[in-house]
Point group: C2
């Protein structure tokens, strides 16, 4: 009842936003695209979405009324900057007016958003299903009675996990350690790896720590005669920005300058050439060389790795892909040398690649040891299966909050909606559609959509543009909010409710950007 | 309207919980204590609370129906353990039935909670004011549209900060970097310290990074000829459990074993003797020796400190106090050597010591450089004032979420309630009352309430007991949930709505525990 009441006023504000948009002159081409899109046959998944509210809740297209930032945003940014660093600000956002795939600002600009809060909004702004979930008594309880989950878990915590986070656990992994964000999800996974490795060296879970081990730990050292351990990561990889995760992050100097880091090894990530079919042999050679380097580092680095961490697609580093065969090889090498494999699915997870987990594309017979998640899950942690990855004593892997039941409930609601609407399969199809259109655009404008990548990977698509930063800035003028990554990549990170009609609007805007460069 | 509807059903459930409690036979002494308490004159702050709902919403006292865990809890723990490590579980909790200062479990046990989710529940379970805040449209918006705050802050983010987090900013600090929990609040503060220090070495914000600096950062090294830097922390201190924060944590081996740590220095925290007035000279000497050691480490450690981090009261480490003079001395030494002072108020902040920030007790003329917060704030981050602590370029201090507006709104509501009811002053008074009663108890049972500490520090009180772990376990039988810390400390961490009547119940239960030892 209560939530229905609030929903009414919410629908009212949606309507207001939509009216505001429709009274604004939109680029003619966008309207044309929309009419074209409306004539298309609905695919199965599209019709599932059409049968719900998803086809009626959004504005029909973007509205650009002012420069971005406009006068109202400029004033607010100035005020904000006094107390909060705004130099990385991209767009001041009016979240009350943002709807579905559209992000709004205080000056009345409404952009198609294919950046989605750095790839982390899963099923649209102001999604009514999440709105209801937010008003549920369970959610309210999670907000106002935040538990120390390791000490005082809620009576229904098992059920929350089993019907939520664990319902979508990667194959072979049936347990979870919950965390707050991607960086601490990775760091707690690293901690589990170190404890697991030392336990093996010690001879098992039953072997107690020596006095020397305890004393050396208290002075931040390893016991005399023992070697320090490391986590091996890949060049241009990104795993977070706290001290342990940043030691495995190798994306850009600006992330790492002046911050102390561990002496941990890095391997080369294969630099694939595009189009893939024209460079099959070179690419296979690059992947083999990378795997050889990994094996060499595992067996010879002076700080031996307890684990290798890898992203299925290096996202912050520029959307660098490798083949399923590469990852199967990585699994085989790590298994061979008894080194753990941690797959960082913080950005790739939860459906955007057309599979729920990007590593589902690899067809692994032997699952990763740990898989970390965050972003579109709206909560974080690492999955694991091997019971030996539970440290041998309580309080070794522990902190006050250890996650957030409120955010876990939100993920549960997100999963429900993904399943109800088949959004993973939907995203696979829409991704194919979008990829085809971008391929055509690339042929029309040589060099402007270079190294198009992400075929068969849902909407997790990227390309390089020689004037990337200007490209992103101009895209806003044509009604689209897009992010970059690496040195020159334009990365598309639409939500899971992104449809072919949105792809049409996006492609239309991208073409305008390129035309404006001439 | 909507929230009022939900409030009705909420009040109903409160009533149900309270009825359940009153139909249970409670220890006679508890009832007697309650009557005694009811006869007392209300102090000004107590009457403020009495005039609100705070006097009527809770059960009259604890109810212990079964062993803890009871049969229902045991079953649920077994199920939970299959997917989530429960070895550090203290008490499975029914958060729907927990009210105010009372924590409930699925077997109908209702305990007075002076542990409060490891010192992090500020104004009671199921506080109706927070309940309303959770149902506000701003909160719902924050939950379902989680922003990447560094890139896409909400239009009203400045206002949320100024009327919330920054409204209670420590004196001299007017800016904030928001975070997710205590550990990343500390680690981002450390990062700010390292960047600040290197910037000074470089000659200022305008000096660009050299190629060598960028290249060495990418291989986790400092440039040739440059020394690595450190954070100096204190023995038995606790600052979190991620890799950087754990490198400064020196509480117990179980927190640190097998986890790689940086070669950073630790100084001795003065071990004060109690009662303080009988050991004034020795204690002053211990503090002087500690300060000398800090200065020696700052000037001579082979990995020079960019900052010193310290807790106003070492909490996890066993409630170790030092005098205001010690902290003023620490500020003077760090200032003298141009080393930053980071005050970790994760556990001490937000009122429990009878001041909003524990370092308000120090009467500093020169404020700390950064103050970190979490726990009772229900959100986290670090305050700072010096504009040079903003790194010289954007994206140096950055991550996807950079905090959580929903939790920031909750803190704002908490602050509102703290101010409305004068809960900081209230806690100072109730703390004095509780301390007096414990002092009397200590005289009656020599050795059982050893090293009683926290006089004049609100309810942030602790004592040592020779059978501490058993003491905590037995306290549950007598209706009280209490936490320990360090080797032998019983630490009291009541909420800010803890009143004299609760102190009476607590003291009564503590006496029963001690009697049961005979």
């Amino acid at each position: 009842m209560a939530s229905r009441l609030l929903r009414n006023s919410y629908t009212g504000s949606l309507r207001a936003a939509s009216t505001a948009a429709s009274t604004t002159v939109r680029p003619a081409a966008v309207s044309a695209v929309h009419q074209f899109s409306a004539r298309r046959q609905f695919s199965a998944s599209t019709s599932k979405m059409a049968s719900s509210f998803y086809d009626n809740w959004e504005p029909e297209g973007p509205t650009v009324k002012t420069e971005i930032p406009g006068p109202k945003a400029k004033e607010a940014i100035k005020e904000l900057h006094e107390v909060f660093d705004t130099r990385s600000l991209n767009m001041l956002t009016d979240y009350q007016k943002s709807v579905g795939n559209y992000i709004a600002d205080p000056d009345g600009n409404v952009l198609l958003d294919v950046y989605a809060q750095i790839a982390s909004i899963p099923i649209g702004y102001n999604n009514p299903v999440l709105h209801d979930a937010a008003l549920s008594s369970a959610m309210v309880n999670g907000i106002i009675n935040r538990p120390a989950l390791g000490n005082f878990p809620p009576t229904d915590w098992a059920s929350t996990l089993k019907t939520g986070i664990l319902k979508v656990a990667p194959k072979g992994l049936d347990q979870v350690f919950t965390a707050m964000a991607g960086s601490d999800a990775n760091e707690t996974a690293y901690k589990a790896a170190f404890m697991w490795r030392r336990q093996k060296e010690r001879g098992g879970a039953h072997v107690d720590f020596t006095v020397e081990e305890m004393e050396s730990a208290m002075v931040n050292q390893v016991p005399a005669g023992s070697k320090p351990l490391s986590i091996l990561s890949f060049k241009t990889g990104f795993h977070g920005r706290l001290f342990g995760s940043l030691s495995t992050t190798r994306s850009k100097p600006i992330h790492k300058l002046d911050i102390p880091a561990f002496d941990w090894p890095q391997a080369t990530f294969p630099a694939l050439k595009y189009p893939l079919e024209q460079h099959a042999e070179e690419n296979a050679a690059a992947e083999k060389a990378a795997l050889d380097e990994v094996e060499h580092l595992i067996t010879s680095y002076h700080v031996p790795p307890a684990a290798v961490v890898v992203e299925p697609i290096q996202s912050e580093g520029g959307d660098n892909h490798a083949s399923p065969a590469f990852f199967r090889g990585l699994r085989a090498i790590t298994r061979k040398h008894d080194v753990l494999l941690i797959v960082d699915e913080v950005q790739t997870g939860v459906g955007a690649t057309g599979k729920f987990w990007a590593h589902d594309h690899w067809d692994l017979q032997d699952p990763p040891d740990m898989v970390t998640f965050s972003k579109k899950a709206q909560t974080a942690g690492y999955y694991f299966g091997n019971p030996e990855l539970r440290p041998n004593k309580p309080y070794r892997q522990f902190n006050t909050w250890m996650g957030d039941p409120a955010r876990a409930l939100l993920f549960k609601a997100i999963i429900g909606e993904i399943e109800r609407l088949g959004l993973v399969e939907h995203t696979a199809k829409v991704g194919d559609y979008l990829y085809g259109k971008l391929e055509a655009l690339g042929e029309k404008y040589p060099g402007q959509f270079a190294n198009l990548r992400g075929k068969g990977q849902g909407t997790f698509i990227a390309f390089d543009n020689p004037r990337r930063d200007e490209f992103l800035a101009r895209a806003k003028k044509f009604g689209v909010n897009i992010g970059g990554s690496g040195q020159s990549a334009v990365r598309l990170r639409p939500m899971l409710i992104f449809q072919e009609k949105h792809a049409d609007i996006l492609v239309d805007a991208l073409e305008k950007v390129v035309k404006s460069f001439k």
